[in-house]
Point group: C2
Amino acid sequence: MDVLKALYERRSIKEFDPMHKISSDDLSTLLDAARQAPSSYNLQHTKIVRIVDREMRKKISAAAYNQPQVLSASELFVLAADTKAWQKKTERCWQNVPEKIRNFILKSIPEFHQNRPWIERDEAIRSASLMAMAIMLAAKSMGYDSCPMIGFEQEPVKEAIQLPNDHVLVMLLAIGKGVKPPYPKPGFIPMEEFLFLDHF
Amino acid sequence: MDVLKALYERRSIKEFDPMHKISSDDLSTLLDAARQAPSSYNLQHTKIVRIVDREMRKKISAAAYNQPQVLSASELFVLAADTKAWQKKTERCWQNVPEKIRNFILKSIPEFHQNRPWIERDEAIRSASLMAMAIMLAAKSMGYDSCPMIGFEQEPVKEAIQLPNDHVLVMLLAIGKGVKPPYPKPGFIPMEEFLFLDHF
C-alpha cells in the first residue's frame, strides 16, 4: 500500500477480531520493517515486548482500564526503550561504516549524552515513537489495523514485563484485524496553529 | 511508493542538492499527510516551523555545528510540541464525534494530564516523533530524502524561532533531494536484544 494512502487510512482501532492470528511470516515482516526506523546515533533504544501469554494480557488489560483492544488484538506490543543505550556496546551500531566515521561517532555519543539526564529520556521516547509509527504504517500496508495506547497505569505494566530500571515505557501497540469501521476523523486544529514560518 | 519499500529505502541523508526547491503542491501534500499522524487524545501537540529565511537557516546551522544539510536541504522543519495542548480548546479536536463520546473524552483529558508534569513532556515528544516518521516516509514516497536531527544546541534554536515557554523542541527535519547514495546501513543490534516474549 502506498505510504500516503496508509497514512490517511490508518486509524486507531479499538475493536479487533479476537479469533484472528497474525502469521509468523507476517510478524517477521512487521518486526523487520520496524527495525528500519531511525534512532539517534543509530542507538536502537527501542525494545518490543510481545505479550502472548493470556494471563499477561489480562494483567495489562486491567492496567489499561479494560480497554477491549488489549485482549482482542492479534498482537499486543509493549514498546519500551533503553535510556542507557548510549553506554551499551555502541560499536555494534556502527560496525558497517568506515573506521574513521565510526571512531568519530563513537566519540560523539558520550559527549552528547553525558550530564544530560533529560536527553536520555527524550531520546528513548523519540526512538520508540518513530518505530511505533513505522509499525502502524507497515501494519496498515499489510492489511492490519492498530491502536497506539498511552492510557494505562505504568507501574503494573512495568512490573508485569519486568522492565529494567534504566528503561522507560513508551506505549502499548495493539495490532490486528479491525471489525468495525472507525468514526470520521475527530477534528483538526486550524492550519495556522500547526504551521509557522520561521518563528512562532 | 509502498510503505515497506519506503521504510527500507529511507535513510538519513546529509548531502542535498542546494538548488532544488520543493513545489508548493508537494509541500502541501507533505504537510497534509503529516497531520494524519496520531497523537494521544488527538491533541495534535506538534507544531512545524518551516525555516525559509536565509538568515534563520544560518542561525540554526550555527547551532547545529554547521551540519551541511541545514543549509542545503530544500526544506528545514523545526518540530516542536505544545506540552499544554491538553488545556487548549480541546473540544475542537473532537468536534466530529457523537456528543456522548466527546464529553467522555474531554473529561478524561485533564484527568490523564493533571499533576503529572512528566507526562506532558513525554506526550509532546511522542506526538512530534510519530509525525516526524510520517513525514520522512511520505517524503520518501514522493521522491525526497530526509534527515532527522537532534544534535544541535537547543537554546539558540529556541530563541531564533521564539519558542513559547510551554513548548518543547523535538527535532530538526531536513528534506530535499539527496545527491549521494548513503553508506550501507551502519549495523543492527541482535534480535534478542530487540524482541522479548512477555517480559524482559
